[in-house]
């Protein structure tokens, strides 16, 4: 999968800036002591309730997604994060003592999560979203620790990060943290319901939604004051979760709940790109927590208590095919089997393309990504949508996208659809 190209790029260029600042102002800040190794705690050291709670929290945090490689064992790390500056590999967080975190104390674990410092005192890359985890309560960290320490220990060495010379110098990270790591616990907002506060706690903390849905500044930190204004993730645009979401009118608490819990619902398309695994993870989360998240996001979108406001489906079939005859042909041959009225999907009540955020957004990136990379069904289910990267050239995909945009929206034509198609081409086919 195409991981965080743009995201990591800004993040790493930020490292250079922070190197300077860090170097100048914070030499004292760099040093963190190693914490003692412990022998791996027995299963009996943890009670079932704590482990169960930790399981739910790990589900919120989606730890398994980043810490599992392709078809590799869960939590054993080695998932590559390729960037223009080199490749980062996620770590093994199974309780193996040599290659995992088996000899980490709870204190070391908490320090890593909340301060981005490894047990041995080295600084961790902010690919681990400690800027969010820093808000997590100690009690929750304890549960998470219990859950991870009771996983199957997997002996799996993780490859060395392959970064360009200079960028692999971890003390630089200390400077970055000084600028962007805003420590501090979570304070519930008075006047808001318990569920809302629970939702905010989860969203801002473990779920780290802002990691993708908040824009980043030049130095790769999340922009303060622009929370949830939309960001980037793995080549996809993470749409804004605030009022500027192009489909805001379609979302309600109920539809957000359904989207997060089941990856699809009657009022929006399915979760695609990196959101797919997130929704798959959330399907395992207790309904109460999913609805708390939905409630909070709905309030950020200004849709708290709102009823759906779908507007009529848009279908300018005639004019679109006059404007884009090639795109129209490609659509009839390649897309109609699912997306035309009368298709199997439409008969099942799936929404027309005019309902999808990816089609309504001003940037064609997500639509292009869906066409070029396809959308996998949740684990093992094959494709929801196949990839067309071998079937069509970039210019053909560009025509197709223009047709889709013209037919299913009244918005202005997309710019540079060919460029969008080309940057959405899967990494291994470039």
């Amino acid at each position: 999968m195409n991981i965080g190209r743009r995201h990591v790029q800004t993040l790493l260029s930020g490292l250079a800036v922070s190197a300077l600042c860090g170097g100048l102002f914070a030499a004292w800040y760099v040093y963190e002591p190693a914490l003692d190794r412990i022998s791996r705690p027995e299963r009996s050291a943890f009670d079932m309730g704590t482990v169960k709670k930790g399981e739910q929290l790990a589900t919120v945090g989606d730890c398994i997604v980043c810490h599992t490689a392709g078809n590799g064992p869960p939590f054993a790390g080695s998932r590559p994060l390729p960037t223009p500056f080199g490749t980062l590999y996620s770590t093994n967080i199974t309780p193996d003592e040599r290659t995992g975190i088996g000899n980490w104390s709870q204190e070391a674990f908490a320090r890593a999560l909340k301060q981005g410092v490894s047990r041995d005192g080295s600084h961790l890359y902010p690919a681990l979203p400690y800027e969010h985890f820093t808000h997590v309560t100690d009690d929750d960290i304890r549960s998470l620790y219990a859950f991870l320490m009771t996983r199957q220990a997997v002996v799996a060495d993780v490859p060395e990060n392959k970064l360009l010379p200079g960028l692999g110098f971890r003390p630089l990270l200390a400077g970055w943290k000084m600028l962007f790591l805003h420590r501090g616990g979570f304070a519930p907002l008075a006047g808001k319901t318990e569920a809302w506060n629970r939702g905010k706690y989860l969203v801002d903390g473990l779920a780290h939604c802002g990691g993708c849905h908040t824009p980043r500044n030049i130095a790769g930190g999340e922009k303060r004051g622009s929370e949830f204004a939309g960001g980037l993730a793995e080549g996809w645009i993470a749409p804004p979760l605030d009022r500027s979401n192009p489909s805001a009118g379609r979302w309600t608490e109920a539809s957000l709940f359904a989207y997060l819990k089941n990856a699809d619902n009657g009022s929006h398309g399915i979760a695609g790109g990196p959101m797919g695994p997130v929704a798959e993870g959330l399907s395992k989360l207790d309904d109460a927590d999913v609805s708390a998240i939905a409630l909070y996001i709905a309030s950020v979108m200004g849709r708290e208590g709102a009823t759906p406001d779908d507007g009529p489906a848009i279908d300018n079939a005639q004019s679109a095919s006059t404007k884009h005859p090639e795109g129209a042909d490609l659509f009839r041959g390649a897309c109609a089997a699912c997306h035309e009225p009368g298709s199997a999907m439409s008969q099942q009540g799936r929404l027309p393309l005019s309902a999808l955020t990816s089609v309504r957004m001003a940037d064609p990136a997500n639509a292009a990504s869906a066409v070029m990379m396809g959308i996998p069904a949740p684990s093992g289910g094959g494709n929801l949508m196949p990839s067309f990267s071998s079937a069509m050239s970039e210019s053909q995909v560009a025509d197709l996208l223009q047709y889709v945009r013209a037919r299913f929206t009244n918005g202005s034509p997309w710019k540079d659809t060919e460029g969008a198609a080309s940057s959405a081409r899967p990494e291994d086919e470039r």
Partner: protein, 162 residues
């Protein structure tokens, strides 16, 4: 509208709606049987053919997108008297029950072996993952691909077409 298609090394002029998926042109206009209709949704691989060396779902491949591209179907690999190495391996292993999925399987395997004559077992499984078989012939299909690959990599030649 006339579309010009290069199928198995031969040029064909086809009178068809340019939106027509390749599958229906191969079967209906060119009389080829190999590519099969299974789902028409890009989910089963029964219709797999190769375009410019890559495995594609012909059921979602409008002929309009095919001008100037090289299309290979199972008929282009070999025939009953001279099967190509992949077809031969499937025959030797008796890798078919009903066989409906098999032409698509062979084409997907061919596309792998043309770029990687000696894949690992894991690479074979991952590559074959898009194609479905309901009869449960998987273990024989894997054996057939393995055996074709072993023979090809011994000979050091890429998986040949006719």
């Amino acid at each position: 509208m006339t579309s010009y298609l290069n199928v198995n090394g031969r040029q064909h002029a086809v009178e068809a709606d340019p939106a027509t998926p390749l599958l229906y042109v191969l079967r209906g206009e060119l009389g080829l049987n190999g590519a099969k209709y299974g789902c028409g949704l890009g989910q089963c691989g029964a219709c797999t053919v190769m375009v410019d060396g890559k495995a594609v779902f012909s059921c979602l491949m409008p002929v309009r997108a095919l001008a100037g591209r090289a299309i290979t179907t199972i008929e282009g690999l070999g025939d009953v008297t001279t099967p190509n190495p992949v077809q031969q391996a499937f025959q030797e292993v008796q890798a078919a029950q009903c066989g409906y999925c098999i032409a698509g399987m062979i084409m997907r395997a061919q596309s792998l072996l043309e770029t990687n004559a000696a894949p690992s077992d894991e690479e074979i499984r991952v590559h074959m993952q898009p194609n479905l078989c309901r009869c449960g012939t998987h273990s024989r299909i894997l054996r057939a691909v393995r055996s074709a690959s072993d023979k090809l990599s011994l000979k050091g030649s890429p998986a040949g077409t006719k």
